[in-house]
């Protein structure tokens, strides 16, 4: 769980950096996107690994949730859980599933069309017919027109933040990389990561929404 989580943390950071390029420099964003989309190492090794990581994370999450439920068949009549633990730490399955549902939409938006273009239509050029530049930035902008979609994206990022607020430091704890000396630093880094990355994604989404709507 923790290992797949740590892996996804790295992926997420990488994803964010590339997306953020779309704000700074559309050209660089296009270059990098094309590289990521066509490099065989990324496509045929890292992409399956990532898929596997996501599925593993989800699968284990569900298994653990079931084990956990099973470990206490009779619930407390009166439970004051907030006295000893955060809402985030107790509801990882909820925030996790919300993020997964969002991933469905996200795949439908980007991954499915990408795969269709590249591997069904066989167009590996990364360009739209009759245009000279790469298509990635334009496609990105087109997706961020619908306010409803923006709303769903923003909501999903809030769930992601809640998930990360516990998940970041929890994965370090689980692999044993935490002791009295590191704990405050990890906690701080985790909080920064959990707030800044989703906030960044929200910013990117809103940025493109605002830019594309006028």
């Amino acid at each position: 769980m923790a290992l797949s989580g740590l892996f996804l943390l790295i992926f997420l950071l990488q994803h964010f950096v590339i997306n953020f390029l779309s704000v700074i420099s559309p050209d660089t964003f296009n270059e990098v996107s094309h590289f990521m989309g066509t490099n065989p190492f990324i496509q045929f090794l890292m992409q399956p690994v990532l898929m596997f990581g996501v599925i593993l994370h989800l699968g284990m999450g569900i298994v653990i949730e079931l084990q956990n439920r099973n470990a206490r068949p009779i619930k407390y009549a009166f439970n004051n859980a907030k006295a000893n633990s955060s809402w985030m730490s107790r509801n990882m399955i909820i925030t996790g599933i919300m993020v997964m549902l969002f991933l469905g939409l996200h795949f439908y938006d980007f991954w499915v069309p990408e795969i269709k273009t590249k591997f069904i239509d066989g167009d590996m050029s990364g360009k739209l017919a009759g245009e000279s530049g790469f298509r990635y930035f334009t496609e990105l902008q087109h997706k961020f027109v619908d306010p409803a979609r923006i709303g769903i994206y923003c909501l999903a990022f809030i769930f992601l933040a809640l998930h990360l607020l516990h998940g970041f430091q929890s994965s370090f704890q689980s692999v044993g990389f935490k002791n009295r000396k590191f704990a405050p630093t990890i906690q701080l880094l985790g909080n920064i990561y959990a707030v800044m990355i989703p906030l960044g994604f929200i910013f990117i989404a809103l940025f493109h929404f605002i830019n594309s709507s006028h």
């Binding site: 653990i64 068949p73 009779i74 730490s89 044993g176």
Partner: protein, 254 residues
């Protein structure tokens, strides 16, 4: 010592005749309790009254009544050992409660801690985890090496002591949303991991104890930290990180 005012309470107590019976929360009004009474003395008073009325007294585990044997348990108002921190139920005093308050008293709940009767649960799963490796294999011979032959730096010795301070009450399991025994197992694993005497068997110990905890039906740890907050002895979840470290390295190299 404030002797002036007494408390009138409504108790909601889990009653269950035995392990196979179906239990339920029953309501008991109880008046004129001194705020200087301990929580268990309050239950003694309730029981005295029940016996005189010909009713069956409430069964609960308790023994030393000074916070060290680990016998007492009870999930009081939604928390193991009640609302006060760093104390066991037997050290909890009625001045922590308000006049007119309703107090919920339930047994520690976990699949691995089946109810025996009323508020008493079977925590022998903890013993079996210890059987799986909670010891250093040394015979009693009278000529083991001199106690001072291996110096142990004070920091590690103190850390080992803090881990060893676990009283095995099970509050960590009761508080954990997953009914995980990680803090309990980690405390023992840590004590030995921090001492040179514990190194020889360290790998088998952590693998076996963790395996046994799983077998007993305790849930996996999801690092909510509830155990640390509710532990009457203040044992840190740093121990769990240490156990995880020990476990990973043992699992890889074994």
């Amino acid at each position: 010592m404030s002797a002036a005012k007494t408390l009138n309470l409504t108790l909601k107590i889990w009653r269950q005749k035995n392990g196979n019976a179906k239990g339920s929360l029953e309501t008991y009004p109880l008046n004129d309790i001194s705020p200087d009474s301990s929580f268990l003395e309050m239950l003694d008073i309730l029981n005295g009254g029940l016996i005189e009325k010909g009713e069956s007294p409430v069964t609960f585990d308790h023994d030393c009544r000074e916070g060290i044997c680990g016998s007492c348990s009870l999930y009081i108002n939604g928390e193991p050992h009640g609302p006060a921190k760093l104390v066991t139920t037997c050290q909890l005093h009625m001045r922590s409660f308000q006049d007119g308050e309703t107090i919920y008293i339930e047994p520690f709940r976990a699949k691995a801690f089946p109810v025996i009767k009323d508020l008493m649960v079977d925590r022998s799963a903890f013993d079996r985890i210890q059987h799986a490796g909670g010891y250093i294999s040394v015979n009693t011979s009278g000529n083991t090496q001199d106690a001072n032959s291996i110096p142990i730096n004070k920091e590690n010795a103190d850390e080992a002591f803090y881990s060893a301070a676990c009283i095995g009450c099970g509050a960590c399991v009761a508080a954990c949303k997953n009914a995980s025994a990680s803090l309990f197992v980690a405390a023992k694993v840590s004590q030995y991991a921090l001492l040179p005497q514990g190194q020889v068997e360290a790998k088998d110990r952590v693998l076996n104890m963790v395996k046994q905890a799983e077998k007993e039906g305790f849930g996996p740890c999801s690092n909510t930290g509830a155990c640390e907050v509710e532990c009457p002895k203040g044992i840190s979840i740093e121990n769990i990180a240490r156990m995880n470290r020990e476990f990973l390295s043992a699992a890889i190299s074994k």
